[in-house]
Symmetry: C2
Subunit: 399 residues, 2 copies
């Protein structure tokens, strides 16, 4: 059994935490000086662990194992959301270094911009050939608008090659990550073997009515776009539970009424609505329900509702053999204290799953908090999951 | 029967329309150079009609009839919403001048800032002693923030007295106004005798839940403030129709979800909700229902809803004898083409009604449009309503 140095692993995590430290978390937005410092720090750790480090033209840091034989790819991302946590991403990268240090034949990767400061998974998509130069030309930072090209130049990445992964080199990809929810914590569990990453189907509903004076227009005359939005969302609230899967989620994150004044009947409403599931059949059932509710609103309401598809990603099921290896290792190290579970959030693993077997291991998140500086996980859970990952990797490589 | 000069009335309205002309409407925000020009123009028209004009320290223009005997007060406001219509307010003021010109014993008034650029009915409230100096100190323009004191100084009104009306001088107050709705037009009617001005009861609902990741948090764990807002408003949509009066209105003009991002479960929601009716018993019934719905949400939801009262105005019923005079005149001039109706919008008459009998006469609004430059009414309807108003005023004075 591989002997991982959990003390060194925790020491590395705590050292990385100092780069861009913010309260008990970190602030390392993609391509910021702190982010680039953390990438250089990582390349040093890779070298120490016997890997050959490099950085590519989109900022992916890669540590290549020099030896022969089948390999695993292990990693996650290293930049963070603004003023966010110390483990989201960093955990999976530092875990990869720990596996290399323990002598396992792994390449380690830190994908650039998983957190989407500039785009959607541009690091992992670049590695599998799904990022065109024209997309790089068009992207801008979503907070301050700086063009991606300018950010790459300032970070010293301009002109570097963007090599593609050779999937034939790997038996699979492992990503260890914090759960970002409370499923493990609330059940007193210490590890989660991920069954797959859910797809997110996202829509914009535009409701057009008639803006009118809230005093002068009788109830019977109104074309109230806001009221249609309420009725539509209330209908979804009744219908979706009868059609969803056991772990489906659906969310309305925004309702914007125009003009939004207390004495004006809203003439227009915009609703952002999404649902997530790992099963395409469930997703299709929910989409059909949404379409029917819109159709019904257009039959019964005096407004006009239009449904726009913003994105419909595909679910990424985790590889059964890799899941089995993780499950066996979890049972060995934490008998009865782990479960299978889907990932409701997106991860780089969903793109790696397109070119090789992929799997994920979740650690508990204290209070379910992520994308906030107070994000945390107990050190004994971090150490436990590193042991599970190392054993699973070794067993899967052997198997 | 009083002989009003409807041609001269329409000529005055069209002349006033040139001051601050904007497309087919006007732009005369309170205390703007255009607004002050229109007030000086009005004082000239008052003088021509035999009235003694003055302007007070808040901008009210007053035309005092010099003769003996019982008087009526007739008027409305003369400033406009931004880029708004030519008749909203101006109609009632110019109608007052036309009545004076026809020899009726009327004082004419143009109340300042009915449109609320700086405050709420500051002109009419000043005249009945409900506007303190401290409120004048505190008010600012709601669009550009200029303090009211500064605007008054620039308009040359600083230091002028703010006299109070002597209610004993009047038998009542008449205000002619555009309907600002489509009730008259949709029924092919040409005049509306107003039964009263509705009260507006306005509330803010604050819903506190828990902000969470839309992927990581299961449906069963969520404390979705936006979903509570939807359920609460859907419940009101079901309950209010069983409790309301025949002309009650209720409106949710704003739903703000925080943070308003597609993949974040809203941790907080703010809802602006109001209802209007002329009957206090109905208003109280609706308020009790709203309170019960909030109580029920706090019983069944995992969020916490708080109901804040923003304002609860009082309804202003119109004087029965004045209504009867208007109704008789309407039947004489437009038999079968008029109706009794409440005013869903607020008007200066609601403050005059606190100190003397008051009544209103509505002309149709083409397409129900107001607060927009395309607002309009047919000239024959304007002339007709002037005749109705003049006859009603004469009959009521006699009665």
């Amino acid at each position: 059994m591989a002997q991982v140095d959990t003390d060194r692993f925790l020491k590395d995590l705590n050292e990385l935490r100092k780069i861009g430290a913010y309260k008990t978390g970190v602030h390392r937005p993609t391509y910021s000086p702190e982010d680039m410092e953390s990438r250089r720090w990582l390349m040093e750790r890779m070298r120490e662990a016997g890997l050959e480090p490099s950085i590519d033209g989109i900022g992916n840091v890669f540590g290549r194992h020099p030896g022969p034989g089948p390999k695993l790819l292990v990693g996650s991302h290293i930049e963070t959301q603004n003023h966010a946590g110390w483990l989201d991403g960093a955990l999976g990268v530092v875990a990869g270094v720990a596996l290399a240090r323990a002598g396992l034949p792994v390449d380690v990767v830190a994908f650039a911009d998983e957190e989407g400061h500039y785009g959607s998974f541009i690091g992992s998509r670049s590695l599998i050939g799904l990022l065109e130069e024209s997309e790089i030309d068009s992207l801008k930072n979503r907070y301050h608008g700086k063009p991606l090209r300018e950010a790459l130049r300032e970070a010293g990445l301009e002109g570097l090659p963007r090599p593609r992964l050779d999937p034939a080199r790997y038996k699979g990809f492992f990503e260890m990550h914090i759960e970002q929810g409370t499923q493990l914590e609330s059940q007193g569990l210490r590890a989660g073997v991920v069954t797959g990453i859910v797809a997110i189907w996202q829509y914009r509903l535009i409701i057009e009515g008639m803006q009118d004076h809230a005093g002068g227009t009788t109830m019977a005359e109104r074309k109230d776009a806001g009221l249609t939005a309420v009725r539509l969302l209330a209908r979804i609230d009744r219908e979706f539970p009868m059609l969803c899967g056991p772990r489906s989620t659906w969310t309305c994150g925004r309702i914007a009424l125009d003009p939004g004044a207390p004495s004006i009947i809203p003439g227009r409403a915009e609703v952002l609505f999404q649902f997530r599931d790992i099963d395409t059949a469930v997703l299709e059932r929910l989409r059909e329900c949404l379409q029917r509710v819109v159709q019904e609103m257009n039959r019964t309401e005096r407004t006009r509702t239009t449904l726009e598809t913003m994105s419909e990603s595909r679910p990424a099921p985790c590889d059964p053999a890799m899941q089995a290896a993780l499950a066996a290792a979890a049972e060995r190290h934490a008998s009865g204290q782990w479960q299978h579970m889907p990932s409701g959030a997106g991860h780089d693993a969903q793109y790696m799953a397109r070119v090789m077997p992929a799997a994920m291991l979740f650690t508990p998140s204290i209070g379910g908090i992520s994308h906030h500086w107070s994000e945390d996980t107990k050190e004994e859970d971090l150490a436990l999951n590193l042991r599970i990952l190392a054993d699973a990797a070794e067993a899967y490589l052997r198997g």
